[in-house]
Symmetry: C2
């Protein structure tokens, strides 16, 4: 294990190693800076003002979030340039919330349907300053339109009085299997180029061409000159998980073991059954995120092959441990996917060289709306 | 859909129908009361003081929780008889917490190893009043010892100065498939009887014989007279999910559609792809709990066969809808398993006859420790 857990933790605990976190923050900022690509990190991963401040200090050009509620938390914390990379539906109480937020900060939101454009337009007053990006499907097949359909969405936005500033996509198919990030990065780049070109032909300048995922962030070429209709390469990236990394990022080759900044500290509560032991981190701590190319839901750091193969809410069952631990022993589990794990905790235990140096709230925890 | 969603919800929202909830609370209390079995409902399901108060008013004899943190919340809320049905490890900060809690309320905790007994004993002052129950494995194979091994654990408890009052088990294998609850209920009863008999032979009176799961709660015979060593039937049950019910309880036959008191209200955010639509309830709202005998992660209430087949953090993909909804339409999703869903939300929207009548906090949300 590259870094040590402190003693006397109350478990399960969300532990972050500050040296590793700072190295991850600096490295992504430097790599994208060298490519001329703006970094707008996705704060849904960490939900933390402290971490967002470190990203900003390292040069991040604004933040990305998943919900209006997350945007409100970061606006309250002094962040004045936030992109909600989601097809926001401004209906019900969200009408008032999106209008209030657009008055306070530079707010961008995603749009992928004429209906959503009309709802957002209807919620806002004149000259709201809100900027919208048309969401493109680059191969993940979740939300987003085909590049050829982007002009129709942009026209609906314009008709609703909204300022279309660009296109965005999430190449989530990078996570399908090891080996996929390269192709997904090409798809991401191609979709953004095609969407920007289609918009240019319809009279919209896509000055923002925003891609985003940790596995593809360093693979997509940058350096677009900002003029749409010609070299429409990516202008910004929205990686999130890179601040912590996890088992999936390691399996995809986006991170090495030494880049893992977060683990769940958990106590052995049972060794009653042979060949396995049970820890106090269950699905409410580790989450059930699972991928076909990894066994189980997490692994005990430093214990070769000890995988959390079964979870109930407050129990994690670890099979095939290299040794039999003692009841009461505390181990570190590296989860599959760090984002849902963070959402289960109210604070981070921040460590440096094995000592607790701080405790940070998960400020935007559970801001689902 | 047996009850209606109110209008103008901010989604995703955790919506509870009060009439159905009250009927569920009353029905379980009446059924167990008729069998002479005490009801000690598991509050990890709802984590709500309001709901626990209703359970108490209906006759619940104390509460069950999963963690010391949940016990602290309910103790703060005026509940003075709480069982932590978990193999508690009283080390680190939990030493002080368990001692403080045992001073304030009648506290019971689970023990299934000599090491845990020694740690709890070491954490407590003399005459703490803490009661311990030995956890038995009745077939779920998670934690708990075989009935024959219960005397060894009880002896370690006694050596550590702890008051052994009984045995408990969770027949989680009831959830393996439809048809399993009957056998699991028999296993539950048999394990409690065998554990109590083994303890009696070793000189311990198992006056509490505690079973617990919603699918088996009504299946296990009750009416024990409290004397161990003879008719050692169950004396109390700890069902949790019955207050709300969910897809799994319906599939197991423990609940009918009309017994479902909770749904996640969610907004359609995308209809861009044919044959499916996307809602704003993802894995951070619906959870990834999944069972082999049900497709997907939830279903749209009242839409025959419309199942949430894929989740990312803030997206739920619904396939094969009976009709194509409009972007902005709000639908109700019944989740697979209600317990982890509740943990994602900070409050319930409480409705009666389609109108919002209250808003209850999820008081013990995220008390993982």
């Amino acid at each position: 294990m590259p870094w040590e857990l402190p003693r006397d933790l109350d478990t399960p605990a969300l532990v972050v190693d500050l040296d590793t976190l700072e190295a991850n923050v600096a490295s992504m900022a430097a790599d994208l800076g060298a490519r001329g690509v703006a970094l707008r990190p996705h704060a849904k991963t960490h939900k933390s003002l402290e971490i967002a401040r470190r990203q900003r200090a390292a040069g991040a050009a604004g933040l990305t979030v998943a919900t209006l509620g997350e945007a409100e938390v970061f606006a309250d914390g002094g962040f004045d340039d936030v992109f909600v990379a989601y097809p926001v539906i401004a209906d019900g109480p969200k009408r008032r919330r999106i209008a209030a937020l657009a008055e306070r900060i530079r707010l961008r939101v995603g749009v992928e349907s004429p209906e959503a454009a009309a709802l957002i337009g209807g919620a806002l007053g004149p000259a709201s300053g809100l900027e919208v990006l048309v969401e493109l499907d680059s191969g993940h097949h979740r939300t987003g339109v085909r590049p050829a359909d982007a002009p129709g969405v942009a026209a609906a936005c314009a008709a609703a009085g909204l300022d279309v500033v660009g296109v965005f996509t999430h190449p989530g198919h990078a996570y399908a299997a090891p080996g996929c990030p390269d192709g997904a990065a090409r798809d991401e780049d191609a979709a953004l180029a095609a969407g920007a070109l289609a918009l240019a032909r319809a009279g919209f300048e896509a000055r923002v061409r925003s891609g985003g995922s940790t596995p593809t962030a360093r693979l997509v070429a940058g350096g677009g000159d900002g003029a749409a209709g010609e070299a429409a390469t990516v202008t910004e990236q929205r990686p999130g998980s890179y601040v912590f990394n996890d088992r999936i990022q390691q399996a995809l080759g986006s991170a090495a073991g030494g880049d893992v900044a977060l683990a769940v500290a958990t106590t052995v509560v049972s060794v009653s059954r042979p060949g396995c032991f049970v820890v106090d981190a269950g699905s409410k701590a580790l989450s059930l995120d699972h991928v076909d190319f990894l066994e189980g839901f997490g692994e005990v750091w430093g214990w070769q092959g000890a995988v959390v193969t079964r979870l109930s809410e407050h129990h994690g069952i670890v099979e095939a441990p290299a040794r039999r631990p003692a009841v009461g022993e505390v181990v570190a589990v590296v989860p599959n996917h760090v984002c849902p794990v963070v959402d289960h905790f109210d604070h981070y235990v921040v460590v440096r060289r094995g000592r607790v140096v701080d405790r940070w709230p998960v400020d935007a925890r559970g801001r689902l709306r």
